[in-house]
């Protein structure tokens, strides 16, 4: 059983408060992803779990054991670094063996584990090479291998895919997911790439400015973001936002802005009614906007003028102007459209989001 729990975790560097009151329970065998922009505190949190940074206040428990004062080598963890941190003067085999040698494992056991890890990762032929003779992807695998042979309670990953080129990153993502299914070890993974977060995580923690914005399963974050930041961070292309005022028109709540008059469905309407007259932010994802047809209710339609057409092959991204606001819509690739065209578009009412203008929390 390897649970990791963070309780009221805080970290200050001199006077800079980089991690604020983080509370989290990571379950056994769970793959937990920390995601957020640079400087949000995710790497610092990971390093505190590893024991590479001192904890200012709060508690970290691994397997119900408080590890605040325990040095990294005694926490039974393994870490994969962003720059791989392979020992350049040792062969791949020695790199893999190092941790086991330090813990005085038997030679036979070390051999066994190395061969096992090498087989899993497909690096048997590289065992006698030095790191400088390997490609980026191969080094990545060796770094993974070093963590696997240790058979630890927790895996820690510090942006391991950031240094790989785009194609390789996609490939490695899939391999990491397969690896986790096979090894089933509790993992904490840090990344700034929300695609990695969505595809790899059992649950995802979104952080900003040292604070946890939301914790949940990827789909939860996508469908019901807790605030504007999470809504804009998750999903690509990013969600469209428009500054609106909430009004009541003959008993029906509307979101109003220049060039935009959108009705609000069911539950959302009820909550919006309570804030009538106030400013808010309307959110709708590009994939939830389509060309209006006769079947679309007029209160969910709006007009826009196309500025740029991005033909991707699998879809078309339209950069459009709606009043003073700029929005992006994702439509079928077969649509015939050109810049400066005026279009009528509709959105899916159940996919509308509203955020309080001041607190940015979801309404």
């Amino acid at each position: 059983m390897a649970e990791v729990s963070l309780h009221k975790l805080n970290k200050k560097f001199d006077t800079t408060h980089v991690v604020k009151d983080v509370d989290l329970q990571i379950r056994d065998k769970e793959f937990m992803v920390f995601v957020g922009p640079s400087g949000c505190g995710k790497t610092t949190t990971l390093r505190m779990i590893a024991g590479l940074e001192a904890i200012t206040t709060g508690e970290i428990r691994i397997d119900d054991r408080v590890v605040n004062e325990v040095p990294p080598m005694d926490r039974d963890i393994a870490m994969v670094f962003q720059n791989y941190a392979l020992y350049p003067h040792m062969s791949v085999a020695s790199n893999l063996a190092f941790g086991l040698k330090m813990r005085k494992f038997e030679k036979a056991e070390i051999e066994k584990r190395i061969n096992n890890a090498a087989a899993i990762l497909g690096i048997e032929s590289l065992l006698q090479r030095k790191p400088r003779q390997l490609s980026g992807g191969q080094r990545q695998r060796v770094a993974l291998g070093r963590a696997i042979v240790r058979d630890p309670k927790v895996f820690l990953f510090d942006e391991p895919l950031s240094n790989l080129d785009a194609k390789l990153r996609v490939q490695m993502r899939v391999e990491l997911k397969k690896l986790h299914e096979r090894l089933a070890v509790t993992s904490v993974y840090v990344t700034h790439d929300q695609v990695e977060a969505m595809t790899l995580g059992d649950r995802v923690v979104v952080m900003k400015d040292g604070l946890v914005q939301q914790v949940g399963e990827p789909l939860e974050l996508y469908n019901t973001p807790a605030n504007r930041f999470v809504a804009g961070f998750i999903g690509s292309p990013a969600m469209n936002f428009a500054d609106v005022t909430l009004v009541e028109n003959g008993g029906k709540p509307l979101a109003e802005a220049e060039g935009l008059r959108i009705g609000l469905p069911g539950e959302l309407a009820a909550r919006a009614r309570a804030k009538a007259g106030q400013k808010a932010t309307l959110g709708i994802r590009p994939e939830d906007i389509h060309i209006a047809t006769a079947a679309d209710a007029p209160e969910y339609c709006f007009e826009a003028s196309v500025e740029v057409v991005e033909q991707l092959g699998s879809e078309i991204l339209l950069d459009m102007r709606v009043g003073p606001a700029l929005m992006v819509a994702s439509v079928e690739p077969t649509l015939r459209v050109r810049a400066h065209d005026k279009l009528k578009l509709a959105l899916k009412p159940e996919r509308l989001h509203l955020f309080d203008a001041e607190s940015e929390a979801a309404i």
Binding site: L52, E53, P72
Partner: protein
């Protein structure tokens, strides 16, 4: 964090560091205290009672005055400074040009010449001083500052060349190529583009050359004889000791005052000095 708890940090890092700094700097403190102690307090045996060696309550300038009045100390300072500055300029001139040639130009024997210059750095002055004394005498340079100004570059130039080569190699070729396209000749590109960019390297070489000149002893000892031609290290050694009697007060005053110019110049260029030192080892 991997250093461990606070007590560990103090025991394993801070305390040893403080000890190192203390041991490395204590002799200078001793120099200062001795310079300002009156003779009466100075010459107390080591096991005399009530002896407080680390401080004096009666500071005096008598040793410093003795230094300036009874010896040519001021003259020695001037000599040393003059020789150091001129040698440094000569060595920088040669070193910058040679460093550029070896780093940037393709010509036959480039590798061989580079190695040859490196090898001369490995021939110590103590190997050459006897024949060199004869040669200096034959050139009629004996007992003049020129005997040193012309010989100091022998150990300064290799070092400057070595260092400047490293700096020049680090300057991207594109800079020069751009200048050449803009119409500059090879020579002009070197003078107007490359050398200004290499100024940190030149400062590093210069400050190290300067301190090495002040530190030289055996050539100065052997080539100079008149008291008013001597450099500070030689003068202090020969004029402040009469037979077996050491004039410790003035000696320490001489040592202290002789150290100050170098220390002051160094303090302005610490970063360059360190960069030069580490650059020479990595190259």
């Amino acid at each position: 964090m991997i250093e461990g708890a606070l007590w560990r940090r103090w025991v394993f890092y801070n305390i040893p560091l403080i000890l190192f700094v203390f041991v490395l700097l204590f002799p200078f403190y001793w120099m200062i205290v001795t310079t300002f102690r009156p003779d009466g307090e100075l010459y107390l045996p080591w096991n005399a009672p009530n002896y407080m060696p680390f401080w004096t309550n009666n500071p005096t300038f008598e040793h410093i005055l003795y230094l300036f009045e009874e010896t040519n100390f001021a003259r020695w300072m001037f000599n040393t400074m003059f020789i150091a500055l001129v040698s440094t300029v000569i060595s920088l001139f040669c070193g910058v040009l040679a460093g550029y040639a070896l780093a940037r130009l393709n010509f036959p024997y480039a590798g061989g010449l580079g190695t040859a210059i490196f090898i001369t750095y490995l021939v110590p002055q103590t190997l050459l001083f006897i024949p060199l004394a004869e040669i200096i005498r034959n050139f009629q340079l004996g007992d003049t500052p020129w005997s040193l100004i012309l010989t100091y570059p022998t150990f300064l130039i290799p070092f400057c060349t070595w260092l400047m080569m490293g700096y020049f190699k680090a300057i991207p070729k594109e800079l020069e190529e751009c200048a050449r396209i803009d119409g500059a000749s090879r020579w002009k590109a070197m003078v107007y583009i490359i050398i200004p960019v290499a100024v940190p390297g030149i400062l590093s070489s210069g400050i190290i050359a300067f301190t090495l000149s002040w530190n030289e002893f055996i050539y100065a000892l052997v080539f100079l004889s008149s008291p008013d031609q001597k450099t500070v290290p030689v003068g202090v050694t020969s004029e402040l000791i009469r037979g077996d009697v050491f004039f410790w007060g003035p000696l320490m005053a001489g040592a202290l005052l002789g150290s100050i110019p170098v220390a002051i110049v160094y303090s302005f260029f610490v970063e360059h000095y360190v960069a030069g030192l580490t650059g020479s080892v990595k190259g």
